[in-house]
């Protein structure tokens, strides 16, 4: 069972991966709205990225996200602590992704 604390910690890991060791964005110039939907707890979380810098996550459903990620909270925590690979999660249907071709590659930074 994933607690709210574990979920927030995992979301912070996703944010942290967008910032390099020197404090600069890994994806400079990247502006996107990312929507997470955790199906088991039916919660929507959002992360807005401006010029590669992720803003604090908010619990909300966006009207027009650029990237939609749908999975259970448990799967998300597994992806973030690397006990589950993204490819395995995708191929076993644990994760649904809606994104552009250009964003598919960039998502590897924070997934």
């Amino acid at each position: 069972m994933v607690t709210q604390e574990m979920l927030l910690e995992a979301l912070e890991k996703a944010r942290a991966r967008m910032i390099g060791a020197d404090g600069t964005p890994v994806l400079p110039g990247w502006d996107r709205k990312i929507q997470y939907h955790f199906t088991d707890i039916d919660e929507y979380w959002a992360m807005v990225v401006e010029d590669g810098r992720p803003q604090p996550v908010t619990r909300e459903e966006l009207d027009d996200p650029d990237i939609r990620l749908t999975m259970s909270a448990e799967t998300f925590v597994g992806l973030m602590d690397k006990t589950l690979s993204g490819l395995v999660a995708m191929t076993t249907g644990k994760v649904k992704v809606k994104a552009s071709m250009a964003d598919m590659r960039k998502m590897q930074v924070f997934m």
């Binding site: 995708m90 191929t91 809606k98 552009s100 071709m101």
Partner: protein, 350 residues
């Protein structure tokens, strides 16, 4: 650069290990006969996070199991082929002035400029094979270390050595002397976007008189524009002629339903490669069951550029080949004893 029968030591070393994303392979195949049957053994060490860190040993011995149904020919799994894989093992490597040694799990490759050796020992299967180039080593984009833009994002460098192979393989206590032909390859890259690829054919082929490799890839850029890539090189052994490919075409002529992947794949392709010296025309036919490099995958939950549902297929198809090379002055060289591999990637909507 003049074609050379020797590798530069730098072509053999692991590349990009300090980069956040990287891939190296050391890939060995051998086609040989034992007991009157055509056989194929493949050994590969793949390194890095772009396509996963793994070793593979495959041994193909069954002919194709084809079943003709009213509306399609169906390809069933081979019954006696052997596939052994090891995943997520560390790469150990060392380099001296004349040897690059790479080891992962049960496979160790000793790569020297003039020859390469692969040693394998796992689950009662042993192999010790030495690869010696039949002639000039072939290179992606015609130059050692040249960087090929295969897709919008993907950059590949590599060397392909069409080799005479000697040694032995022991399976279930039976030792088979190996006198055959095969490939040693080292390919490396630090950027790959697999999702850009729609269609890729990489083929190497040995004939008694000739050898070659080609690669053709069609992909989509991040702006959804088509992106075309092709490269290849040929060598006419009997005339000592090195022939970079000017253009190439790979066209499916017959299809077969690959039951394991729930989709059709080419059973036979025609290949045309044009060079300054003349034109190569081949029929390339699947000879053994495909060596599946990644499980055929349905990505039902993936929506890319508003297209929902995708599937991917990635395999090495062992092939036999027949054909001829026609020089521009009208001379024709019939090509005999054709064996090779057709590596296939397909990525598309479900």
């Amino acid at each position: 650069m003049q074609p050379s029968n020797r590798f530069e030591i730098d072509e053999l070393t692991p590349k990009f290990l300090d980069q956040p994303e990287h891939f190296n392979d050391w890939y060995f195949t051998v086609h040989f006969e034992h007991g009157g049957r055509p056989l194929l053994a493949k050994f590969s060490i793949t390194e890095g996070n772009l396509l996963g860190q793994a070793t593979h040993f495959t041994f193909s011995q069954d002919p194709l199991r084809l079943e003709t149904e009213p509306d399609a020919v169906v390809l069933h799994r081979a019954l006696n082929d052997i596939i052994l894989a090891e995943e997520n093992l560390p790469l150990e490597h060392s380099c001296t002035d004349d040897t690059v040694q790479v080891k992962m799990g049960s496979l160790t490759a000793f790569c020297q400029p003039q020859q390469q050796r692969i040693v394998f020992d796992k689950e009662g299967i042993k192999a010790d094979l030495t690869f010696t180039p039949r002639g000039p080593i072939l290179h992606w984009k015609h130059k050692a270390g040249a960087v090929c833009q295969v897709t919008d994002v993907t950059r590949v460098s590599g060397s392909e050595s069409l080799s005479d192979v000697r040694g032995e393989i022991t399976i279930n206590g039976q030792t088979m002397p190996v006198v055959g032909r095969g490939l040693f390859e080292h390919v490396w890259f630090s950027a790959l976007n697999f999702f850009e690829i729609r269609h890729m054919n990489w083929i190497y082929a040995h004939f008694d008189e000739f050898y070659m490799y080609i690669c053709h890839c069609e992909s989509i850029t991040s702006e959804s524009r088509p992106f075309h890539f092709e490269t290849g090189e040929m060598y006419m052994v009997i005339n000592d002629e090195f022939m970079p490919a000017d253009s190439l075409e790979v066209t499916p002529e017959q299809w077969v339903f690959l039951q394991e992947a729930r989709r059709f794949i080419p059973l036979e392709n025609s290949v045309v490669v044009r060079a300054a010296q003349g034109t190569l025309r081949l029929k390339v036919r699947l000879a053994h069951y495909p060596l599946i490099l990644r499980p055929p995958t349905r990505l039902e939950g993936l929506t890319v550029d508003n297209v929902p549902g995708w599937q991917s297929l990635f395999f090495d198809g062992p092939v036999t080949l027949e054909g001829k090379f026609t020089y521009k002055d009208g001379r024709v060289v019939p090509l005999k004893g054709g064996v090779g591999i057709n590596e296939v990637i397909r990525m598309g909507a479900l």
